[in-house]
Symmetry: C2
Subunit: 308 residues, 2 copies
Amino acid sequence: METFDLIIIGAGPAGLSASIYASRYGIRHLVVGEVTGGLMTQTFEIGNWLGTENITGQEFSDAAAAHVKSYGAQIRPAIVTNIAPQADGGFVLSLADGKELSAKTLLSATGTHHRYLDIPGEKELAGKGVSYCPTCDGFFFKNKVVAIAGGGDSAAEAGAYLSNICSKVYIVVRGAEMRAEKFWKDLVQKKENVEVIFETNIVEIKGETRIDDLVLDKAYQGSKTLKADGLFVEIGLTPNTAFLKDMGVGLDEQGYVKVSPDQSTNIQGLWAAGDATTSSNHFRQIVTAASEGAIAANSILQHLQRGE
Amino acid sequence: METFDLIIIGAGPAGLSASIYASRYGIRHLVVGEVTGGLMTQTFEIGNWLGTENITGQEFSDAAAAHVKSYGAQIRPAIVTNIAPQADGGFVLSLADGKELSAKTLLSATGTHHRYLDIPGEKELAGKGVSYCPTCDGFFFKNKVVAIAGGGDSAAEAGAYLSNICSKVYIVVRGAEMRAEKFWKDLVQKKENVEVIFETNIVEIKGETRIDDLVLDKAYQGSKTLKADGLFVEIGLTPNTAFLKDMGVGLDEQGYVKVSPDQSTNIQGLWAAGDATTSSNHFRQIVTAASEGAIAANSILQHLQRGE
């Protein structure tokens, strides 16, 4: 069985940043990830990564992976199906292809997935008008018309934010009212260029290389067609942490991994970093994930040195 | 008097990253900084910034500043001499050139300065063999001989780390023993390629484009000349926070600004980010500073929106 000092599960910005620090620290490690780049690969264009004015999510993911490999570290495309803690304090990982790996320490950096609307056109137009991150992509709809699907805090916050950038913002809410904090609801109501459409679902996104129309299940101002350049889907995130639950890893109510300031978890030998954790004031960005990965690697170095 | 929603004090990675987020949020702000890039400008070569295999500190600082300016934000080279909290909750800043600025909110991102040896050759060879950051620069001395000046935790930690990369590491300690934690002292003693030289000071660094020799004030193995390719000065950092003390900002014993998870301080309207804070598990890296700047900007956005 292949044995490592550290296995990093997840190849998004947290895992890749941790790998770079681990390589420079001389920690023998492996990155195991389903999608190299993680959720970044779905991002339109990254404009808030310091020093890089504009780069697509895919380009940035490729650059990050090349950076990792430049230090000789490997990124293995694989799915972890089981983690078995060992009596000596290490872990044995089972992969979907039947192989097993062994590691002294683990870093879980598995991120989150967006909840999808699951409607026609959504997958096809992701990154071509359909976005899941107002902070990342809002700027690219400057002076344009956008719609937001969702009725909670993140939908309302997105509405308040996008109203400063876009000429017009529709918030399409399934229920009869928004479930958002009063503060956010009040704020959205004050914005003259925001219209909230209640008791309505978006049922189809029409367009080929860009969004042409959104199709509603109930007429709004006499039409079931809503004209918009962008659609932000804000119906929640789900941390990819179900596989940690059986190990007894401390998760919060939403399933995010509870971590200490050094990114350690309640399980000895297991760290967590990135969007699936409670760190960084719950602000989920490439830079916060990369930072958590670096902090975790530094903490793991100290742990491994203590164990020598 | 010029008035802003936010003034960011400090133009290192925390301040510049915060500016990019603030610009994208539409927050009217100004960056005031002594050195654009801050301590980064002193870094040899940056190898751990995700997606960028190699860049000099100066090049990265220039790219970050260009990125900030691409959003229309200004970086003003100036020194803040006084901050006067106002009755309405805002602040008036006095600059060394006699001008005053007013802001609703402040972000202090003033970083730290390395304590220097203050010996001949130190300034001249900074970035040409003299380094203040083993994590940043250690890799560039792979299989070479380095010396560390210092006898505390950071010197011992640097010794343990560099011993894995360099062929030989000297730790030059002023006193009769190291003041480091037992754990670090033990670890350093176990490393066969580390030699600790006690009761000795480095008094001069000889060389022009690179280090030729270090001059000691006491002979070691019969010579006052120590041959080394690199010198790491690890005699401490000092946070640039003296100017915050009079305002009643909560600082820890070493002078680092105590911050909450959202980077807020104990003073309403004042946030802090970067190396001069207690965040990021005290791990002081470009990526941790940039992350803290982003978190602070997000938190300031929410504060300003609440105040509308």
